[in-house]
C-alpha cells in the first residue's frame, strides 16, 4: 500500500486551474468565431444579420460561463475538503483513539496533517497514524479525481449551452456587463464582511470569556492579574480580570500623548497656514508628514533605547524614582507620532474658513494672533475637536510603541513616572504566549479587543457627529 501511494503522481489544484484556463481560451475563440460566422453586413441578399455587440463579447460570454461555475466549485471544494477528509479518516481509527478529549484529538489531527504534508520524518510515528495518513492521501486522490471529472462535465455543459444560444441578436455585451457588475458588487461586500467578521469573531470569543468571568468583574474590577491554574494546587493560581487598571494605563498614556501632540500640532497648523510663506510651507508640510509615515516599531525602539533611559537619568538627577518603563516615555513618543494627525486635519479645517472672516477682523483692527484666537479658531473649532478625537482614538489603539516602551504590570496609578500597562500590550502578551486557546487567559485578550473596538468606535462616531452637526456652512 505504501509503495503504491509513493509512485502515483499528485494531481493538484494548480493543474485543474491550468486546464481551465486553456478551456476558457478555446471557448473564447469558438464563441467569437461562431458569432462572426453567423453574421454578415446588413442588407444584401444573404439572410445574415448584423451582430448586436462586438464579436469579442460573444467569445467573452462563452469563456466566462466556462470559467465561473468551475471556479465556484473549486472554491467550495477547497473550503470543505480538509474538514470532510479529516472527519472521514478519523472515523476509520479504532474507537479508543476516537474517544479522546478535544485537545488530544486536536494534537492527533495535527500529527495527521503533518504526516500527510510530509513534514515529519516517518521514523517514530505510531503505525496506526501512518496508516491513517495513507488512507487520507488515498481518499484525497479519489476526491480530486472526482473533482476533475465534475469540473470537466460542468465546464463543457455550461459553455456548450451558451455556445448553442449564440445568435446575432443575442445581446452579449449586456450579459457580460451584468456579470461584471455582479462581480463589482461582490467585491464591495468584502468591506461589510470584514466588519461583520471582526465583530462576530471578537464577540464570539468574548462571550466564551464572559461565561467564565462575570462581566461586572471585568468592567469594574480593580486588579488585573491574568493567571490561570494549570493544575489544581498550583501556587499563584487565582486570576483576577479587572480591566480598570489596564484602562487607566491606556488613558494616562494617551492623555500624555495628546498633551504633547495637541499644542504642537495645533500651533504648527496655525503657523503653517497663517504665517508661513509658500516656500516654508512646501518644505515643512512634507517633513511633518514623514512623522506619520514612520512605522510604529521604529518609534517603540526609539522610546526604549533613547527616551526611557534619558527620562530615568533625568529623574535620578532630580531625586525622583523613575521606572525604566515609565508611562511618560511611551506617552512622549506616542505624542510625537500623532502630531501629524492633529496638524494636517486642523490645517484643512483652518484653510476652509473663508477669507471674508479674516478680512473683516483685520478691518476692525485686530492683530493676526487676535484674529486667529478670536475668529478663526472658534469658527474651525468643530473640525479641530474632531481631529483631536480622531488622534485620541489612534493613540488608544496604538500597540507597538507601548509594547516596547511601557511595562507589563497593571498598576492603578496617576503617576506617569511609574510603569503602567495598556489594553494593547495586554492583548499582545496574552496571545503571543503559549497558553492553550480555551483558557480564560487567552480569551481575556478577545474581551480586551472587544473593549478596544467599542471605545474607538464610539470616539470615531462622536468625532463624526461633532463635525457634522456643528460645522458652519459657508456658501
Amino acid at each position: 500500500m505504501k509503495s503504491f501511494v509513493g509512485r502515483r503522481t499528485e494531481v493538484s489544484i494548480g493543474l485543474f486551474l491550468l486546464v481551465l484556463l486553456v478551456l476558457s481560451s478555446v471557448a473564447f475563440m469558438q464563441g467569437k468565431r461562431k458569432a462572426l460566422a453567423l453574421s454578415g453586413p446588413h442588407g444584401g441578399r444573404s439572410r445574415k444579420k448584423k451582430l448586436h455587440s462586438l464579436p469579442g463579447y460573444y467569445g467573452l460570454l462563452t469563456a466566462l460561463w466556462c470559467l465561473l461555475p468551475a471556479l465556484a466549485i473549486i472554491g467550495i471544494w477547497s473550503a470543505c475538503s480538509g474538514t470532510i477528509l479529516t472527519t472521514l479518516t478519523l472515523q476509520t481509527l479504532p474507537p479508543s483513539m476516537q474517544g479522546l478529549p478535544p485537545d488530544q484529538r486536536n494534537l492527533l489531527v495535527n500529527d495527521l496533517h503533518n504526516l500527510v504534508a510530509g513534514h515529519v520524518a516517518p521514523r517514530d510515528i505510531k503505525p496506526l497514524l501512518q496508516q491513517a495518513a495513507d488512507r487520507y492521501k488515498e481518499m484525497r486522490h479519489i476526491a480530486r479525481m472526482l473533482l476533475g471529472a465534475v469540473l470537466l462535465l460542468v465546464t463543457l455543459f455550461s459553455s456548450s449551452v451558451v455556445y448553442r444560444r449564440i445568435r446575432p441578436e443575442m445581446r452579449a455585451r449586456n450579459h457580460v456587463e451584468r456579470i461584471i457588475r455582479y462581480g463589482l458588487i461582490i467585491c464591495s461586500t468584502v468591506a461589510i464582511l470584514t466588519t461583520i467578521g471582526i465583530v462576530l469573531s471578537v464577540l464570539f470569543e468574548s462571550l466564551r470569556f464572559f461565561r467564565q468571568i462575570p462581566l461586572t468583574d471585568f468592567l469594574f474590577g480593580l486588579k488585573w492579574s491574568p493567571q490561570m491554574a494549570l493544575r489544581a494546587d498550583q501556587a499563584g493560581s487565582s486570576g483576577s480580570f479587572g480591566a480598570v487598571p489596564v484602562l487607566a494605563g491606556t488613558f494616562m498614556i494617551s492623555g500624555i500623548a495628546l498633551a504633547v501632540a495637541v499644542p504642537i500640532g495645533l500651533m504648527s497648523a496655525i503657523y503653517l497656514s497663517e504665517y508661513a510663506g509658500k516656500r516654508v510651507r512646501d518644505w515643512a508640510k512634507p517633513i511633518m508628514e514623514i512623522l506619520a509615515g514612520i512605522p510604529t516599531v521604529v518609534y517603540g525602539f526609539f522610546a526604549a533605547l533613547v527616551v526611557a533611559p534619558c527620562i530615568r537619568d533625568a529623574g535620578s538627577l532630580l531625586g525622583l524614582n523613575v521606572s525604566s518603563e515609565s508611562g511618560l516615555a511611551a506617552g512622549l513618543v506616542m505624542g510625537m507620532m500623532i502630531i501629524p494627525f492633529v496638524s494636517s486635519l486642523s490645517d484643512d479645517v483652518i484653510n476652509a474658513v473663508p477669507q471674508t472672516l479674516r478680512d473683516a477682523s483685520y478691518g476692525l483692527g485686530a492683530t493676526k494672533s487676535e484674529t486667529i484666537t478670536r475668529v478663526i479658531i472658534p469658527a474651525a473649532l468643530p473640525g479641530i475637536v474632531g481631529s483631536i478625537l480622531l488622534a485620541a482614538s489612534r493613540a488608544i489603539g496604538e500597540t507597538m510603541i507601548v509594547v516596547m516602551a511601557a511595562g507589563l504590570s497593571a498598576n492603578l496609578t496617576a503617576n506617569p513616572l511609574r510603569s503602567v500597562t495598556t489594553v494593547t500590550v495586554q492583548i499582545v502578551t496574552l496571545l503571543v504566549g503559549d497558553q492553550e486557546f480555551d483558557s480564560p487567559k487567552t480569551l481575556a485578550a478577545f474581551a480586551l479587543g472587544l473593549l478596544l473596538f467599542v471605545i474607538t468606535l464610539i470616539l470615531n462616531v462622536i468625532a463624526l457627529y461633532v463635525v457634522r452637526r456643528y460645522r458652519e456652512q459657508y456658501e
Binding site: I180, G183, L184, I185, C187, S188, T189, V190, A191, I192, T194, T195, G197, I198, S201, V202, E205, I264, M267, S268, I270, Y271, L272, E274, Y275, A284, I287, M288, I290, L291, G293, I294, P295, T296, V297, V298, Y299, G300, F301, A304, L305, M336, S343, T367, K368, T373, G397, T399, M400, V403, M404, T424, I427, V428, F437, A445, G449, L452, L457, N460
Partner: protein, 424 residues
C-alpha cells in the same frame, strides 16, 4: 462725554498697542517653535537610529591559517567532519603558549560559533582544498566586535566586563598582527535570523516582507478598485450603499491589532490556513489597506470631470464601456499613488502580524507563500528584545533598511503623482 478726564479712544487704543504687538510676536514665536520642535523630533529620531546603526555594516573578522588535514575528512560525508576542530587547531598554532583547559576555552571563544559552518560551506564547494593550508577570514565573536567598535569599555574592572584582560590582550595582539579587522558585513544582507548576532541577517525577513506584500497587492488592488468603481459609478443612493460607505470609513479607523484578532480567529482557527505564513499575513494586511485604497480610488474617480463620461455616452458607449475604457484609465494614476501609499503603510505594520504568529524565531529564508516567515518590522521587534549588545546596532541597521524601502516607495508615489496627474 468725550472726556477731558478720560483719554480719547484713539489714545487708549494706542497705549495698548505695544502690548498687543508683543503678544502677537509671542504667538508667532510659539507657532514657529512648534514647527521647529516637530522637525527636531524627527531629526532626533533619525540621528539616533543612524548613529546607532551605522556601525552594523562592518563586522570583525579574524584571519586564521586553516590546515585541511585529509585525515579528518571522509570523502563520502564531508558534512560530518569536525570543522570546529580545524578552527581550534589553527588557534593553537597561533597562540602556542596558551595551556590549560579554561584558558584554551577562552581563546576559542574569540571566534564565532558559526565559523565551522563557513568552513563547511567552503569545503563542500571546493573539495580540492583538502590537504592544503589556507588563510581564511572567519567571523569573530560578537563580543570581539563590540570591543573593536568601542562599546565595551576597557577601563571598567575585569569582573564587570564580558571579556577578560587576557582575552583583550590576545585581541590586541591579533589586531597588531593584521589578523583581526573590521570588514563589510555581508552576512547582514545574506543570512536569515540567528541567535548569534554575528550570524544574524535580514534576508529571511526581507523575503517574508516581499511575499506578504505581493499577496497584499494582488488582493487589495483589484478588490479596492472594484469597490471604488461600484460605489462611485453604479451604486444607487439607498441604505445599503450608505452602510457600505460608513463601514469603510469605520474600518479605516479601527486599531490594527483588532485586524490581528480577526485574522487569528477566522483565518487560523476557522480556515486552518498555515500559521505564520506570508499568505495569512497578506490576507490580514489586505483587509487593513482596503479602506485606504478605496478612499484614494474614489477621490481619483471623482476628479475625472463629467464631460468625459458624457462625451463617451454620447458617442454610444454603454455605462460599463465608459468606465472601463475612459474613466478608469484617466483615474489610474491617482489609484496607483493611493495603492503605493497603502503598500508602504502595510510594509511597516507589526501588531496584526504578531497576532497571527509571525513572531516565532524562523531561521530559514522562506521560499513560498505558505512557508513560515517573518517580516522586517517584526524582525526589528524581535531583535529589539534580544539581550546581546550587538543586536542594538543590528536593529538600528534593520530600521535603516526599512526606512530606505519606505522612503523609496513614497518617493516613487510622489514622482508618479507629479508626472501623471492631470489637473482638469
Amino acid at each position: 462725554m468725550k472726556g477731558e478726564k478720560r483719554a480719547s479712544t484713539r489714545e487708549r487704543i494706542n497705549s495698548g498697542l505695544a502690548k498687543r504687538y508683543r503678544r502677537e510676536r509671542r504667538f508667532r514665536m510659539f507657532g514657529l517653535g512648534a514647527v521647529l520642535m516637530s522637525i527636531c523630533f524627527l531629526g532626533l529620531l533619525f540621528g539616533s537610529i543612524i548613529g546607532n546603526g551605522w556601525s552594523a555594516f562592518e563586522q570583525a573578522e579574524v584571519k586564521l591559517p586553516i590546515h585541511f588535514d585529509p585525515a579528518m575528512f571522509d570523502v563520502d560525508n564531508l558534512a560530518a567532519a569536525d570543522y570546529g576542530g580545524l578552527v581550534k587547531h589553527s588557534l593553537q598554532i597561533l597562540f602556542p603558549e596558551v595551556k590549560g583547559r579554561r584558558d584554551k576555552r577562552r581563546l576559542y571563544r574569540l571566534v564565532s560559533s558559526g565559523a565551522s559552518f563557513v568552513l563547511q560551506d567552503i569545503v563542500v564547494h571546493n573539495t580540492g582544498l583538502i590537504g592544503t593550508t589556507r588563510e581564511i577570514w572567519l567571523p569573530a565573536d560578537d563580543e570581539v566586535d563590540m570591543l573593536l567598535k568601542g562599546h565595551i569599555r576597557r577601563d571598567v574592572p575585569e569582573s564587570e566586563r564580558r571579556l577578560t584582560n587576557q582575552q583583550i590582550g590576545w585581541i590586541d595582539y591579533l589586531v597588531n598582527w593584521g589578523r583581526l579587522e573590521e570588514k563589510f558585513n555581508a552576512t547582514f544582507f545574506i543570512a536569515g535570523d540567528s541567535r548569534e548576532p554575528e550570524l544574524a541577517g535580514i534576508h529571511g525577513a526581507v523575503a517574508g516582507s516581499f511575499f506578504t506584500l505581493i499577496v497584499t497587492l494582488a488582493l487589495s488592488f483589484p478588490i479596492g478598485v472594484a469597490t471604488a468603481v461600484y460605489l462611485e459609478e453604479f451604486a444607487p443612493c439607498n441604505r445599503w450603499t450608505d452602510s457600505i460607505e460608513v463601514n469603510i470609513n469605520n474600518l479605516a479607523a479601527v486599531p490594527s491589532i483588532v485586524f490581528g484578532l480577526l485574522g487569528l480567529a477566522v483565518f487560523l482557527n476557522l480556515f486552518n490556513l498555515p500559521r505564520s505564513s506570508s499568505l495569512v499575513g497578506g490576507l490580514v494586511l489586505t483587509l487593513m489597506t482596503l479602506p485606504t485604497i478605496i478612499i484614494a480610488s474614489r477621490a481619483s474617480l471623482k476628479s475625472v470631470p463629467p464631460s468625459i463620461r458624457e462625451a463617451a455616452l454620447g458617442v454610444g458607449a454603454s455605462r460599463m464601456q465608459t468606465i472601463l475604457h475612459h474613466v478608469l484609465p484617466l483615474a489610474m494614476p491617482g489609484m496607483m499613488t493611493g495603492t503605493i501609499i497603502g503598500m508602504a503603510q502595510a510594509l511597516g505594520e507589526t501588531a496584526p502580524l504578531l497576532m497571527i504568529g509571525m513572531v516565532a524565531f524562523i531561521a530559514d529564508v522562506p521560499h513560498g507563500f505558505t512557508d513560515p516567515a517573518t517580516v522586517l518590522p517584526v524582525q526589528i521587534y524581535l531583535w529589539a528584545d534580544a539581550p546581546e549588545r550587538a543586536f542594538v546596532e543590528r536593529t538600528s541597521a534593520a530600521i535603516m533598511v526599512l526606512l530606505a524601502f519606505l522612503i523609496g516607495m513614497n518617493a516613487f508615489a510622489v514622482f508618479l503623482r507629479r508626472k501623471f496627474e492631470r489637473r482638469w
